[in-house]
């Protein structure tokens, strides 16, 4: 019986592998259509076509860096970690916002790959965009824990001259409420995919709103009201059309659309105040 099970599992693995291989388009070279324009020199926007050799594991960033090293050194790209951690190499690849270092050439169909700068961001040069407005929106939602310093009663901890600090205790269940939103790497892909940002420049965007939810749901945060006041504006959270494109392009599996809806629940009074719930729990545990 066990042997049958093992055989079935092995069959399933083989089928999965075959599907994966089917999805991959293996080629020896690929044509990159790279968007070229320079805001400063008011260069006419156009696409440059560059042929680069590729292997099975070549990423779009690898291909671009090859093109920059051996074909045209003037291509403007921004990148850093090359491992989908820093979020610097966000760009539109075949029309979809993606991280160039996280997108393998073999995953993409078609003989040529079109690479453009992210939408909804002011353009600087070639594939480089200006993130000033994006980070301003992020800063505006106060993406940090608000409230008093966690000072504990005297004699309970360490510190210089009477200053005593303690841990701000959180249960794993409390962490689970916001954990996925803390994986955001601020790459701007969701902001680029958002149709509301495209029409309303004052709209904070999915990234900032998801971060607002991340800190609102955090039981250590003591001043949710001031953060919600920022969002409860004419061009704030209510302007989201719930297209869901932000969640589908996120390379880290964050679901900003869900965060926005949960935050709306807070504003409408449907959701429970996480702080009060946690406080009640703590009191119950203390009594026990």
């Amino acid at each position: 019986m066990e042997q049958v099970k093992v055989a079935e599992q092995s069959d399933a693995k083989h089928t999965e592998k075959a599907h994966k291989q089917e999805k991959e388009t293996l080629r020896s070279s690929v044509t990159l259509r790279v968007f070229r324009a320079n805001r400063k020199t008011s260069e006419h926007a156009h696409f440059d076509t560059i042929e680069v050799p590729v292997q099975r594991w070549t990423t779009v960033l690898d291909a671009l860096l090859y093109a920059k090293s051996y074909k045209d050194s003037s291509i403007g790209i921004r990148y850093s970690c090359r491992m989908a951690s820093c979020g610097s190499c966000g760009m539109k690849i075949n029309g979809i916002p993606r991280l160039a270092c996280y997108t393998k050439v073999s995953e993409l169909s078609g003989s040529s790959i079109t690479i453009e700068p992210l939408s909804n961001f002011p353009h600087i040069r070639d594939l480089v965009t200006d993130f000033t407005q994006f980070f301003k929106h992020h800063h505006d939602v106060k993406p940090y824990i608000l409230g008093d310093d966690p000072v504990a009663p005297a004699n309970s901890g360490q510190g210089a001259e009477g200053e005593t600090y303690t841990e701000n205790i959180q249960t794993p269940e409390d962490v689970d409420k916001y954990l996925q939103f803390s994986y955001c790497i601020k790459c701007g892909l969701c902001y680029s995919a958002c149709p509301t940002v495209a029409t309303d420049t004052k709209f904070p965007g999915p990234q900032a709103l998801a971060q607002a939810y991340r800190y609102t749901a955090d039981t250590r945060d003591a001043d949710t009201k001031s953060r919600l006041n920022v969002l409860d504006d004419r061009h704030g959270i209510w302007r989201c059309h719930f297209a869901g494109s932000c969640s589908s392009v996120c390379p880290k599996g964050v679901d900003p659309a869900l965060g926005i809806q949960l935050l709306r629940g807070h504003l409408l009074g449907f959701s429970k105040n996480e702080n009060r719930v946690a406080e009640k729990k703590r009191k119950t545990l203390d009594l026990l």
Binding site: T196, T199, D200, T201, K202, D232, D233, R234, H235, G236, W238, R239, L267, L268
Partner: protein
């Protein structure tokens, strides 16, 4: 008024409008469609106080919900204070105008001394 309060009103008026319009449609279906739109029947509807109140509530709910929807669309069109203030004032005036004119029609048809 905070935007969350406005949106609460928007959602509540939307849901309530669905309910009253459903009642209105069901009332129209109790007789043949052609007969339902006959002059005497229409006037009789307005003379029936509960039905007149139902029509007034449809008017108010849909006007508020619809004009707020229009305000939202127009707010996204441009982002500057003059435009936003003008849109807010314009949609409030529009809603008031529609509600005022509609209420007058209901009162006249009802025969409450507005002829």
């Amino acid at each position: 008024m905070r935007e969350s309060q406005i949106m609460k009103i928007h959602y509540i008026t939307g849901i309530a409008a669905l309910f009253v319009v459903a009642v209105h449609i069901m009332m129209r279906l109790i007789m043949p469609f052609g007969l339902s739109l006959g002059y005497n029947n229409v006037i009789a509807n307005y003379s029936n106080m509960p039905y007149a109140i139902l029509l007034e509530s449809i008017l108010v709910l849909i006007a508020i919900h619809g004009f707020n929807g229009l305000r939202i669309i127009l707010l996204e069109l441009r982002q500057n204070k003059h435009w936003e203030d003008a849109v807010t004032a314009g949609t409030i005036a529009g809603a008031m105008g529609i509600i005022g004119f509609g209420t007058r029609t209901i009162l006249v048809a009802n025969g409450l001394g507005m002829q």
